[in-house]
């Protein structure tokens, strides 16, 4: 159990910087997600921490120890890939026993630890199956059990739920969060899914083109993004002009609609029913082509496509964002 610290970590391929001077400190027991579009360098960063790759410059510390030059074998990290990377020629139990065998842990003790880990991910009873006989969700649980069975100092998860369908993904998100909390293991999770980042993390690190854009708690990153990229990547972003000529972000949930009253007049271009919410695309009178998006709970008054509404928001819900 340890904290993670990155100091100016850079990885260059020729002139291209996959990771550009990245600093990060993850506290003991914290779960931080690295969020970014594909090609943002998030997986590169993870592989540098795991020791599968060497940084061009910068230092990496795990539990205060400088591991920058240590091979992957000596870092004591639990690593989970999107593709699971289970050993296809071994059974579920043999897969989970593998890191224990490498550590020369006695047969009986190893067996107990492996069965406990499988119980933790609710796979007891499937010990003698082959990975190919399991569903995607079950395979990912095996990978998770294999990554935590040897009590690693830290846990690294590379898009661990990316290959699963939506319903299963949401189920496993909750499980993953509970497992992480009960083990108290410092965790870095890479994802391109902003919902996953918002729902799982203690803090989010937003990455673009190898550079850190913001490191903040989910609500802060969502409502007070450091720049336009973060604002747009974390969800639907409306930008409104400020008196000083600048721009401010207002999230769809903060926009109020009414049939009459104060506010700006607008026309409903599209009303999209989403179950929990209705999303309105609005065209403000006398403003540009880009529609404003509002989200309202379904229980409130509903507006049909083409209807005229009044749009308003609180000044407190505006967050200035550089262009």
């Amino acid at each position: 159990m340890s904290e993670i610290r990155l100091e100016g970590v850079t990885k260059r391929y020729g002139t291209f910087a996959a990771a550009d001077n990245v600093d990060l400190a993850v506290a003991q027991g914290e779960l931080v997600t690295i969020l970014g579009p594909s090609g943002s360098g998030k997986t590169t960063l993870l592989s540098l921490i795991a020791g599968l790759n060497k940084p061009t410059s910068g230092r990496i510390f795990i539990g205060g120890r400088d591991v920058t030059d240590a091979p992957a074998q000596e870092r004591n990290i639990g690593l989970v890939f999107q593709s699971y990377a289970l050993f296809p020629h071994m059974t579920v139990l043999e897969n989970v026993l593998f890191p224990l065998g490498v550590r020369k842990i006695g047969r009986a003790e190893a067996d107990r630890l492996a069965r406990d880990a499988l119980k933790l991910v609710r796979l007891d009873g499937l010990e003698n199956r082959r990975p190919s006989q399991l569903s995607g969700g079950q395979q990912q649980r095996v990978a998770l059990a294999r990554a935590v069975v040897f009590t690693p100092d830290i846990l690294l998860l590379d898009e661990p739920l990316g290959a699963l369908d939506r319903k299963l993904r949401e189920e496993l998100q909750v499980e993953l969060k509970q497992l992480q909390r009960s083990l108290g293991v410092t965790t870095l999770l890479v994802t391109h899914d902003q919902e996953e980042a918002l729902s799982l993390s203690d803090r989010i690190m937003v990455l673009d083109k190898g550079r850190t854009q913001q490191v903040a708690a989910p609500t802060e990153a969502y409502l007070k993004p450091a720049n336009r990229f973060v604002a747009e990547f974390l969800g639907i972003a409306n930008f409104v002009g400020l008196p000083d000529g600048g721009q401010a972000l207002v999230r769809p949930e903060r926009i109020r609609l009414s049939g009459s009253g104060a506010g700006k007049p607008a026309r409903v271009v599209e009303a999209i029913y989403l179950g929990q919410m209705v999303r309105y695309h609005l065209s403000l009178d006398g403003e540009g082509a880009r529609p404003m998006v509002a989200a309202a709970p379904f229980v409130g008054p509903a507006y049909a496509t083409g209807e005229r509404v009044m749009v308003s928001w609180d000044a407190a819900d505006l967050w200035p964002v550089a262009k």
Partner: protein, 272 residues
């Protein structure tokens, strides 16, 4: 759909039966037939009586085994090395491995005479470096035959092995490393077991091909390394004793089929 188009392949089937299956059936029949007496096993008894036949069969097995092992010892590291190359490097290495396929087997075999002969490249190099005083005889013995066969058959092992190796996801090896396994453990516990089905299948294929090899043993063995194909040649073209040849062929066929059955099982496992 079924039965449709049968008219089109019927001539091909007839051709195949007449030109290919019928002679095999005839050969099998010959081994169990005696003129005027009908069914007999005496040709097989004859094989047992003359130990030379069994000795040649055993000899063939041994040479085939050694050539196959040599293939594995050379082919596995070669395929492994090729896996680690860049895409471009792989293409070049692959072409070099396949290149011998494009050269006539006769030319290749005679090339070995130039290389391995008493005044050949290898012997001159050995003598020049002072490792030996007199030329080492590589030709007209089992060593030469084994070297030649190993060379000709190497692609049959390297190609399937290489194909299996590049199918292994690098992330499996990275996962093993992150779990704490040193490189040696990663190789023996993860990489090697995953290549084992292809290795076994390739090895059996090479062994089967070795059993029936004719040209290379004939030339590089100079008639002094009796292999079963050369024995058959003698029995048919020189003595001639067709019945004995048929009996030996039958045994060879059965052995080959048994090995092939094993090969099929392994191959199915490898592709599963």
């Amino acid at each position: 759909m079924r039965g449709q188009g049968f008219g089109f392949i019927a001539p091909l089937l007839v051709l195949m039966f007449v030109a290919f299956n019928a002679p095999i059936v005839y050969m099998l029949g010959l081994a169990f037939w005696e003129k005027g007496r009908g069914f007999t096993l005496q040709h097989y008894e004859g094989l047992l009586d003359a130990p030379v036949y069994l000795r040649v069969l055993g000899n063939t097995m041994r040479v085939a085994l050694v050539a196959t092992l040599a293939n594995v010892v050379i082919g596995y590291p070669l395929a492994l090395w090729m896996r680690g190359l860049s895409n471009r490097g792989r293409m070049i290495a692959l072409s070099l491995v396949v290149l011998p396929f494009w050269v006539s087997i006769l030319v290749r075999t005679y090339a070995w005479i130039v290389v391995l002969g008493n005044g050949g490249l290898v012997n001159r190099a050995l003598q020049w470096s002072g490792l030996t005083d007199a030329p080492v005889s590589f030709l007209y013995n089992e060593l030469g035959v084994t070297i030649g066969m190993a060379n000709v058959l190497l692609p049959f092992l390297v190609l399937p092995l290489f194909a299996a190796m590049i199918r292994i996801d690098d992330r499996l090896l990275q996962a093993a490393a992150s779990l704490g396994a040193p490189p040696r453990t990663i190789f023996w516990k993860v990489f090697f077991p995953l290549t084992l089905p292809a290795l076994a299948a390739g090895t059996l294929l090479v062994f089967i091909l070795c059993l029936g090899f004719y040209v290379t043993p004939a030339i590089l063995g100079g008639g002094r390394v009796p292999m079963i194909s050369n024995l058959l040649d003698t029995l048919i073209n020189q003595i001639p004793r067709w019945e004995t040849a048929a009996a030996i062929s039958t045994i060879l066929l059965i052995v080959t089929l048994l090995i092939f059955a094993a090969y099929r099982r392994l191959d199915r496992k490898a592709s599963a």
